[in-house]
């Protein structure tokens, strides 16, 4: 196993961890953190693939993703704040207005 392969597996691990956090955590803020983790796994992949060919566009794209992730975190936290004001809760399971109530 080369170093690059190891880093690929690390990306997969990071993505899986993020996905697990998104699925399981009770708090919306932690869900947002899981999303950050998944984005960073994607960034790691971008950087690794960029290393195997000439040019810098992969790394630049990773920078863009970091930038977008910041914005996304800001917008997400704002949404979570509004949701908290409205529902008095940040637990995703409680926010089930779309569900058909029997």
């Amino acid at each position: 196993m080369t170093e690059t392969d190891f880093l690929f597996y690390l990306g997969v691990l990071l993505f899986s961890c993020g996905l697990l956090i998104v699925f399981t955590k009770k708090n919306a803020l932690l869900v947002l953190m899981g999303i950050e983790l998944m984005l960073n796994a994607a960034n790691l992949n971008l950087v690794l693939f960029n290393k195997q060919q000439a040019g810098m566009d992969g790394q630049l794209f990773a920078l863009f993703v970091i930038l977008v992730a910041v914005c996304e975190a800001a917008v997400g936290i704002a949404i979570i704040l509004r949701v908290y004001h409205y529902y008095q809760s940040a637990v995703p399971d409680r926010i089930n207005n779309l569900k058909e109530h029997e």
């Binding site: 996905l19 998104v22 699925f23 399981t24 869900v31 995703p92 399971d93 926010i95 089930n96 207005n97 779309l98 569900k99 058909e100």
Partner: protein, 624 residues
Amino acid sequence: MSESNTLYLLIATLLIPVASAGIAFVVKEKYGWLIPVVSSLLLLSAAVIILFPLLADGQQTETYATTWLSIGTTSVQVGILSSPVTRLMAAVVLVVSTMVHIFSIGYVVHEKNTDRYFGFLGVFTFAMLGLVYSSNLLVTFCFWELVGFCSYRLIAHKQYKPAASRAATKAFLITKAGDVAFLIGLLLLWIQTGTLELPTLTTGATASTLAGICIFIGVVGKSAQFPLFNWLPDAMQGPTPVSALIHAATMVAAGIFVLVQLAPVFTPETLWLITGVGVTSALMAAVGAWLATDIKKILAYSTISQLGFMLMALGLGEISGAFAHLLHHAFFKAGLFLSAGAIIHSLHQATHHQPDFDVQDIRNLGGLRKQMPLTFAGFAVCAAALAGIPATTGYLSKEMILTTVHQQNLWWLEFAVWVIVFATPLYIFRLLWFTFLKPAAHTLHIQEAPWVMRIPVLVLAAGSVTFLVYKGQLQSFATQMLQLQISVPAWIMVGSVVVTSMALLVGWLRRNARIRQREFIIQNFLDEWNAQLILLTTFVARLANVFDRKWIDGSIHALAYSKVALAHMVGWADKNIVDGTVSGITHITRGLGGVARSVVNGKIQSYLLWAIAGLLIFIIWMLY
């Protein structure tokens, strides 16, 4: 006149009497004096209205019909038959009814219950008009029954007199006995010819003898012929104007009128029966009129006799002669009855309603010629018409019928008819003599009846006189309208005049013969007979009732119970099998739906999980 106008005018004449009756029933007792005046005016307007189609339409025949009800493929039409016969009959009914209404203004002025009286007069007129106009025999039958009911109510108008209510019940029961046969006859006719439409029937259909006889029995009851005539003399208990209406235009005329329309349909056997019954009734009632001492009963028997005369003519096929005589008779008999009513009214005034003084007994009357000259004039003209003296309407129709009888070449029939021709002037002269001409039996201060009672008598008397048309023979209103060609052999004219004069001579010679109180035995005999008939009918009805209860009701109950049981079984099957299947399917569907729906549980993270899972499945499927 255009067809729709005729229809509207006829309907108007039909509805005006109803309006009159409605007003009479609705107006409060406080304004009771209004009823006679308003009713008379309404009837007068109807009588004027009917003249327009009568004069304008000539010999036109038209049927205005619409479907009343359909049973399967059979439909019953309700409609108006506008033919010269019906228009003329309706006109006579309306004129006589109007005169009776006007006369009643004076007659019932001190009576109670004028609202009911005028109400039923209106309904009576309406029913008779309906019977006349109707183009379907089933509808005719409905009106026929209504006529019977109205006459029942009007005969019993003086409810405080037990005799009146008894007479009304008798009239009702005896005519009903005839009506049952009439209905059976109509149904037989319906079965045999498949229709009860008069226009269809009179063109080619033939009623079987049985149906004809059944219908004729109904006519016998309605027109008071032998052996069902004894209700009519008793019906004299009713108010005199009502008697005039019953005898002239509405009740008894209904029977003859129906026969006038149906006579072409009957078989020769039926027609011979009609002739026989007619002759018997005419002779018998002439004897009854000779024996009676009550002024109204004499007139009642005379009606039976005249109706028998018409029936005989109908049976011999002399339909137009019989119909003309019916119309003439309506006028002069109404005139006679209204005169009698005026006499009774005046005598009641003069004697102050003394209970022991019978003002209707002709032995108590006399000398009224001087005291009631106008009534005398009217009565004399009408009596002349009844007797068949030349220049009166009665003479014309009598001649027509005599001619037909002579053509039959039957010596017994001809003999019987000449006896009737002889007997009629005899009894009417006797009545005239005792009432008007003979010296007064009691000295009473009698005043002429009021004008409202004199005018109708004079109008009816005027209608009983013939007139001479340009380059023609003598005509009456009826023969003129029907455009009858009267050709009478000279010897019959002379003979009838001679016989009538002989009758008057005999009457004059025997004018002072003492009148004994004698009963008309045949009537008592028939009363007994009818009572037995009614007892028998009640017995049969009771038997039928028991049979009905025990067997028919029993089987209907059994049928009903079995049906209910079956319904319960079907209900159980429905609930458990049919409904069970349906609800089973819904349960399964609901369960499947629940499974499918459990994914959509409102939790964002599980949505995501499923979305990712779906994406993974998609990717794996795309790659491999």
